[in-house]
Each structure stands twice: as structure tokens, then as C-alpha cells.
Subunit: 355 residues, 2 copies
């Protein structure tokens, strides 16, 4: 395939002039430019991206590292929303996204080194994981760029974007309480998905109960694992409790799907005998279970925002030469009320009727 020299020779100019034309430099006579363009067309010439990279010390690749393994990442719609958000932004700016899905935090650290230190990528979007604290300092020193999805260590102030889980828990709980529910069940995030000091949604749930002057039903809290099947089983667990819940809030949409199925199997219709609120509000959810009331976690925006931040950092680095630090951002959830939170179950309960 043709090189810049072939083009130069054919057009009767120097490689530098060809380079100027390619990169839109205005200091080229129109006539010369046309000769070059014609030669490029004739030779079906495309600049060699690698050679350009070597010279310019940038690859136009960004790595995206999620340490939960390919089985999980490719099959969890919530993960994919984040990924999609980042992918959209990145490709919009002509960056390629290189997805790496190691099976553990340990392997992830290895991947991070592979991608960044070998300079296969200009920067990294990475899930919060233990050990990144050490990395962060290393990156700092070496001028490597990254943004994390979630805080990696308690004191991290820069270069992260995170969902404000407690605020989601607060909103959901407050709303359910306002419908008259007294006994709300909770399926939380798996503890292993929480960054070191990140607060669980439960913090917000507790707050809402406290504000309402009610005692929090600790016996109705279950740690989830983000899977549909787990949540389906959970339905029975909740119903075995006394007092049992008149409403359940769970930390992710897939868990809400499972819970819905579990409840139906037990003969309970969400929105009628029991209320249900989900934790993501994924587009996919609206197809599967269109009626689901939810806290919108804005996962797509989360990924997009991380990518935007990284692009700013990369741009600054290119222009000013130094690595920028962007203050961490929190995304607040919003309430989306649909058909599974009617308060009917709460009214029954108030009327002294128990299932």
C-alpha cells in the first residue's frame, strides 16, 4: 500500500507538503494542493495511523476496564448502558474504545498496565476497584490519564464520576413512605460492587425513615447479587417475614424483573397486592416490564460523563502538556413513577387487612 513518499513522488512535491495537505494546513498553494489530492486519490492512499501515532505519541484509543468478567459485563444491561454511553462519546470524537473485561480486580491491574504503560491507549476509563489507589499515584507520576467509574479510594477528589446511591435510596423510600407504606423491603447492591468507602443506597433509605420518624425495618434488608434469579428467590424470603413488606425497593432493574416474577408466582400482582420499585430504569426494562416504577440511575449518562471527562483531560494534556485534574462528579437519580407503585397495598395494611 502506498506511503506518503509515493504520493510525494507522484505529485512531484516533498513528503512534508503532502503532510501539510493531509492535515489541512493552509500554507499550501491551491495548485500544489490539487496535485497532491489527485495523487492521493490515484494511489488510494491512507496515512498510516501507527506511524502517525509513534510520532505524535497519541493513539486515539481509550481503554475501558471492568473487572467483573465477560460473562457478567456482556449480559448485564446496566453495564452495557454505561459502556454504550462511553462508546458514543468516544467514537463521536474519533477515539476507539478498547474493552477489557478481566475476571478480577487483580487481573484488572494487570490489564491497566498492559494498556497504559505499553501505550496502547491514551487514557483509561476504569471501574472503581481496590488497588487503584496505588495505581493512581503511579499514573500521577508518569502522567497517565484516567477517569474512574466510582471512587477508588475514600479521599479521591478528582477524576471520578459516581452515582449517588444514597440519594436514590432516599428518593425511593421517601416516595414509598408517602404512599403510606410502613414496612418496605430492600434488596441492596452486592457489597463487592461497592467501592471502598462508597455508601450503599441503604444510607438514604435510613434517612428517609428517620425523617418520617419511623423505625427502620432492618429485618427486611437483603443483599442482592444483581441477578434476575436471585431476586426471584427473594420473593419467598420477603413473604416469610413478619411483618412482611407492603412494598419492595431493589437496587437494579434485572433484580426487579426477577422479583416481579417471584411475586407473581406467589400470587401477588405488583401494584395491587404489593408495590415495587426498581433501581435503574433501563431502556431495556421498558420493553421487558413496561410498568415498572423506578429510580433512574442514569447509567448511560454515567458512562458518557466519564468519557467526556477523559476527553477533557486528554485535550488539556495535548494543549498544556500537563495532566489535568477534574473534580469528581456525582449523578443524582430521579424518580420515575409508573404502575407498580400505587399504594394500594399500603391502604389495605392501614385498613387492618393482611394478605
Amino acid at each position: 500500500m502506498a506511503t506518503i513518499y509515493d504520493v510525494a513522488k507522484k505529485a512531484g512535491v516533498s513528503p512534508k507538503t503532502v503532510s501539510r495537505v493531509i492535515n489541512g494546513n493552509r500554507h499550501v498553494r491551491e495548485e500544489t494542493k490539487n496535485k497532491v489530492l489527485e495523487a492521493i486519490r490515484l494511489l488510494d492512499y491512507y496515512p498510516h495511523a501507527i506511524a502517525k501515532s509513534l510520532k505524535q505519541k497519541t493513539t486515539n484509543n481509550v481503554g475501558y476496564v471492568v473487572p467483573y468478567g465477560s460473562d457478567f459485563v456482556f449480559r448485564d444491561p446496566g453495564q452495557l448502558e454505561q459502556l454504550k454511553g462511553a462508546h458514543n462519546v468516544l467514537t463521536g470524537e474519533d477515539y476507539n474504545l478498547i474493552l477489557s473485561v478481566p475476571n478480577s480486580g487483580r487481573e484488572a491491574l494487570f490489564e491497566v498496565n498492559r494498556l497504559l504503560k505499553h501505550r496502547e491507549v491514551d487514557g483509561l476509563i476504569l471501574y472503581a476497584m481496590e488497588g487503584v489507589e496505588t495505581l493512581a499515584k503511579d499514573f500521577e507520576e508518569k502522567g497517565l490519564s484516567y477517569v474512574s467509574l466510582g471512587k477508588c479510594y475514600p479521599e479521591q477528589e478528582y477524576n471520578f464520576v459516581e452515582i449517588d446511591a444514597p440519594s436514590g435510596g432516599y428518593l425511593a423510600t421517601k416516595y414509598l413512605l408517602s404512599l403510606g407504606h410502613r414496612w418496605i423491603g430492600f434488596i441492596t447492591e452486592p457489597a463487592r460492587f461497592l467501592a471502598p468507602d462508597k455508601q450503599s443506597m441503604i444510607a438514604g433509605c435510613l434517612k428517609a425513615y428517620a425523617e418520617a420518624g419511623l423505625e427502620f425495618p432492618h429485618h427486611l434488608v437483603l443483599e442482592g447479587d444483581y441477578t434476575v434469579n436471585f431476586a426471584e428467590q427473594a420473593a419467598g424470603w420477603f413473604l416469610s417475614k413478619d411483618p412482611g413488606p407492603t412494598a419492595i425497593f431493589c437496587a437494579s432493574d434485572p433484580m426487579a424483573w426477577g422479583l416481579m416474577r417471584g411475586l407473581r408466582k406467589e400470587g401477588l400482582t405488583p401494584g395491587v397486592e404489593i408495590d415495587l420499585m426498581a433501581g435503574d430504569d433501563l431502556p431495556f426494562s421498558r420493553a421487558i416490564e413496561p410498568d415498572l416504577s423506578a429510580v433512574n440511575s442514569r447509567l448511560h449518562e454515567l458512562g458518557a460523563e466519564a468519557a467526556e471527562m477523559l476527553l477533557v483531560i486528554l485535550r488539556k494534556k495535548r494543549e498544556i502538556g500537563t495532566r489535568a485534574k477534574l473534580p469528581g462528579r456525582y449523578l443524582r437519580s430521579e424518580l420515575v413513577i409508573r404502575g407498580t407503585t400505587t399504594g394500594h397495598a399500603a391502604k389495605r395494611e392501614a385498613a387492618g387487612l393482611r394478605r
Copy 2:
């Protein structure tokens, strides 16, 4: 960051020797090797992937181009299974996968050029799309490597892997007929997803009917669009037909989910009043609708197989220097019988009972 020269200097050897050590060449004295290793460790040295690429004319990146846009690709579990299959294989051999999701075939051709001709990738996995015929010849000429998911043009004999859709249709239909069904409804693949001469699953369905000596119910065929919502609506359409179906086979799992919901809304329980067979058997489906009988399209294998083929092609190119052609492969579906194909509806029909 340190270069190979820094390491060489620190170890008191030449860059070439360092290169030998890095690449596992045996012609290095143990003592020298240790000196080099120590220097590498001290300097936290990692070889510059880009520089290596330039010299070796390989990038260790593979492109994956799907011309249906990001909204579709990231939210269709079937697409993601294929992608996951390819990603697993590729990363297992230390290749990076660069995902490109242009909005149309037209844009896809542009992407293909961007990735391949600029040498950002060593090879490409691409969805069958119109216009690839021209590309294929261009690739041939320029020695560029690709494998297509589906045949790109009727006479294509090499470098593709494709699901044998008619065989899936045949299996499903034959099985349903064996249960005693006479009137089977069909939701097909969207025509725009079919490669130029690719046969629809319907070809197989026709064959099964013909073998059974029955007339094919053309009035019960509906072209789908692969979405949940479409299929939900389709339930009503089927029930408005006369004679209506006692079983429905649809070309994808997401459509089966929608159809299930639609049928339930109409008061029909799949497996009881009407039989239902899905067209993918996705892992995700087993969580959402665990009971669904299906034709297993082996989408994960499809992606994996495409990646394997591409790796073989790339290996041959490296070793023999010439671009290999691999004969195209067809993947046959398999029947997975679960709870939604019981034949009850067919027996009722035979007994003269109609809904």
C-alpha cells in the same frame, strides 16, 4: 517513560540484546539476561506497543463492525452474544477488539476503510452488508484480512460464518407439526437483516410442511423487527386470523418475550392454550423467561467462530505471507424443548375445540 535505550544503557548492553531478552530469545547468556531484567524492573520499563507495531506491521487490534447503530447493538442480547463470543476468543489471543457501530451500511463502508486502510487493525469481523462485495475484491487486492458474519454476496465461498436459518425453521416447524399442530404462526427475521441471497428461516418451515404433506399457512406469516414491543403487538394480529395459530415460532428471543406478554394479555398461557417456540435460546432468556422452548442459534459460537477464522487468517498471513481463504462455515441450530411446547393446544384443536 523509559525506552529500550535507557534499559540498554543501565544494563550495559545494546538495545538489541534487550530486545532479545524481552522477546524470549534463547541466545542470551543467563547472566546478561538477569542484568537486563533487573534494569527493566528498576526503570519500570514497558515496550512501546506502537513502535513495535510500526516495525512489525501488525497492531494486534481487530475491528468488529456492525452497521445497525449503537442503540440497537448495545441493547440486543443476541448481538451481544455474538460480540461476546468474538471478544472472548480475540482477547484470549492477546488481540484487542475495536467495536464500531455505524448507523448504516453506507457508513459502515467508511468505517471499514478507516480501520483497515489506515492500518488501525490487522483484520476485520464484519456483518454482512451490501457493498461488501466491492470491498472484498479491494481487500483481496490489498491483502487485507476479514471474516464476515453472514455471506456478503451470493457467490461468496470463503471467509464467512453464517447461521443456517432454514435448518432452524425446519427443525422448529417439524417438531411443532409432530406435536399435532396444523396451524403454526411465524414471525420472521426483518428482511433488512438478511444478507443478499440469504434464505429466511421460512424456507425451512415450508420444507417441513411440504414433507408432512400439509399446506403452508401463508396467512400466518409476519415479518418481525427483532423488538420486544413489535412482537407483543403481534399477538393480537395472530388471534385475529382465521384459522388462528395453535403454535407460534418466532425468529428471536426478544420477540418471543414480547409475544409471551402479548399472549398472556389476551388471556392465553403459552404451553397451555397456545404453544410458543423462540429463535435464539440466549442465556439471558433463561433468566427472563426460563420456560421458553427454542431453537438454539448458537450466536456465541457464531462470534467465536468468526474470530477463530480471522485468527487463522492472520496467522497464515504472518507465517506464509499470503492471505488465506477459509471455506465459509454454516452453524446448524439445535432444538431445546422446555415448557412452552406441550402440544396441548394442538390436541384441543383436534378435539374440535377452538378458543
